[in-house]
């Protein structure tokens, strides 16, 4: 070894080269560091396992309490004061009607807004405001949307309280930003070369967007929409504000009838003193989770099946 001594560590008679790493002290140090490395990795794994254990506990308890209550009369019945008669169909139908209103409003609005912002919007202060408000709306607590629904739809516009119409409108305002954001990302992911190709053969900007960009972005938009809808389906707080806690013995016939929704039914039953409702609550939770699982599964399927990596 002819290397000139360089630093304090190599001055004096400190060993050089490999020998420096073979002293008992250095070996101890390395093994201590490797132990710390293993410990750290284990803590990371432990954090995930602990979180998932909580999830498992939640699911097991719901299944244990609720599976016994899942039968045809429960799935086809409506709310009742008697836990043995009470069923979930009335609330489920309310959820379906509410979701239909939400989807019909938020999907077209969200997609059109996403197209505008991504493809047509001029760079201006106005558009900046739109973007800021969309990003913020996506993070506004859901209960605030409930207050908006109460103040505007019910108190100002006089729409029927407790109805899927108002519930759907409120949730649509909440879901739209989610769809806009995912829609913009999906549209952004379509490479410019596609647009150039369409424009170069004489398609108008509008034709380019609706014939080429939108179809390619659609799987991404749909995935985002389903995720947004799943969130809306599980939402309770804003609906509590607009009074969707009606005691509904018959399923609602239309979007203006008083109705309840699945999560609200869970909340109402959880408050019942009669212990028979514990089973009903858990069973309703199972039904809700099955719906959500199906929706998320569909979203994942769509993403895997149609998503193109450019």
């Amino acid at each position: 070894m002819s290397n000139a001594s360089l630093s304090a560590a190599r001055d004096g008679n400190a060993p050089l080269g490999n020998a420096r790493w073979q002293t008992p002290e250095a070996l101890r140090r390395i093994s201590r560091r490797n132990a710390a490395e293993r410990r750290f990795k284990l803590i990371g794994l432990g954090a995930i396992v602990l979180s998932l254990a909580f999830l498992a506990l939640l699911l097991v308890i719901m299944l244990k309490n609720g599976l016994g209550g899942l039968d045809w009369s429960f799935l086809s019945g409506s709310d009742s004061t008697d836990p043995d008669i009470a069923g979930v169909w009335g609330a489920a139908k309310g959820s379906l009607l509410t979701m239909a209103v939400t989807l019909l409003l938020s999907f077209p609005m969200g997609v059109l807004a996403a197209i505008y912002l991504e493809e047509f919007a001029p760079r201006s202060r106005w558009i900046e405001w739109v973007e800021v408000s969309i990003n913020n709306l996506a993070a506004v607590p859901s209960i605030i949307f409930g207050l908006l629904g109460l103040a505007v739809f019910i108190n100002t516009l006089g729409m029927p309280r407790s109805s899927p119409l108002v519930g759907g409108l409120t949730l649509a305002l909440m879901t739209m930003p989610v769809i806009v954001i995912s829609g913009r990302n999906a549209i952004k992911a379509v490479p410019p070369s596609i647009r150039d190709a369409a424009l170069a053969i004489g398609a108008s900007k509008m034709q380019t967007v609706f014939h080429h960009v939108l179809p390619l972005a659609l799987p991404g938009i749909l995935t985002g929409t389903i995720i947004g809808m799943a969130r809306a389906l599980g939402e309770t707080a804003p609906l509590l504000m607009i009074g969707m806690r009606a005691f509904v013995v018959t399923p609602p016939g239309g979007i203006t009838d008083p109705s309840s929704v699945l999560p609200m039914q869970i909340f109402l039953w959880s408050d019942e003193i009669d212990t028979g409702f514990v089973q009903n609550t858990s069973a309703a939770i199972i039904v809700l989770l099955v719906f959500l699982l199906a929706m998320n599964g569909l979203a994942i399927y769509l993403r895997n099946k149609f998503e193109v990596r450019w």
Partner: protein, 457 residues
Amino acid sequence: MILTGVLLAVLGLGLVGWFAARGRARLLHTGRGSIHSMPGYHAWHVALWIVFPALIAWGAWQAIMPGLVDGAVMADPVAAQLPADAMSRAAILSEAKSIADNPDAVAFNPLANTLAGPVRDAHGRFGLIGALLVAIVAVAGGGWAFTRIRANFPARTRVERGVLGLLLVASLMAILTTFGIVASLVFEAGMFFKDVSPIDFLTGLHWSPGSARGDNLGDSFGAVPLFWGTIYIGAIIAMIVAIPLGLMSAIYLTQYATPTIRKWLKPMLEILAGIPTVVYGYFAALTVAPIFRDFAASLGMANPSTESALAAGVVMGVMIIPFVSSMADDALAAVPRAMSDGSLALGATKSETIKKVLLPAALPGIVAGVMLAISRAIGETMIVVMAAGAAANLSANPFASMTTVTYQIVQMLTGDQEFNSPKTLSAFALGLVLFIVTLILNIIALRVVKRFREAYE
């Protein structure tokens, strides 16, 4: 349903116009360059001219029709028997309307029954006029557009301009929503602050709207215990659970897990974020709270309550884990690989690299993520409604029952109160505070994230 009927009729007319226009335009199309816009665009041009004016006319008619109906009913001889004061007059009138809509409804006031007839008549009459109006507008709009089908008419440009307008309107919905939120919160909260001074509200230590009466309203609407409960549950207890677990999960998933393990564990962790909050709330109340209560009892606490800040906070923390984890994931991923390579090449172990290089470099992103997580936690409602309790306690004891801003909003607005009492209005004041705080947290966090990303691009 009149709504669906009119809608279907208008759309049907639109469809007819679409086909008619296309047929006409096709006749003009004799070969390349013979026509400015393809027949399809002429079809859309006509269809839009049928549908939009008709819908606008119908909407306008809907807005003025109730006034016309009321006027007609008042002019009816039966209305002469109505009591003079406006309030009971309006009550009977609205009862009559509901009977007119639904003949099975039971009338509370006999007068309403007799009035139902005129109401129904007026409804029918004005409904018919409205339908006619809509039809005329649709036909007029469609006819005008139809006459413009010529070879050189730029239908495509016109249609595209219309669509662009539609896109613009859709994107303005976001601003409208934000404006609606701000306006309704500010307006209702303003009514509340007429009765209770904002200073009493923001600094008062005593919250008991139930006993609020007379002129000392300010003493019963001190929201500090609510703010404290919100911060204690959402920003302290929940974060003590969510930050370490979420951060360590993200570190494991991004730095240690093999791609296969990551592919399985990440979606499983995300399930936690997809579970509705009402389910968490029920789980907190049913399972977690009793465990903590028994634990508190075993510590020798007298009469521990079932509803505890701890139960709500811990469950909320678990709910937030995937959120913190995915924000931390993004933040860690944004740190360039060169940074960790630099550390590894010096002979640092992976954990040393993570702790001393990666985490400090990702810190702004992680902090922003935590801010967003807090904003989400303090706005969370169902878990606290079901597990935290109604008592406005200013306490640091995690086993105590505690209430939050969101809990009180729900409390004030459910149940039977008249709408304009200070009690219900206080919910909007609380909502305003919540909105402002989450807005500030979000804006700061998004700024930090943006600057952080730019720093490494």
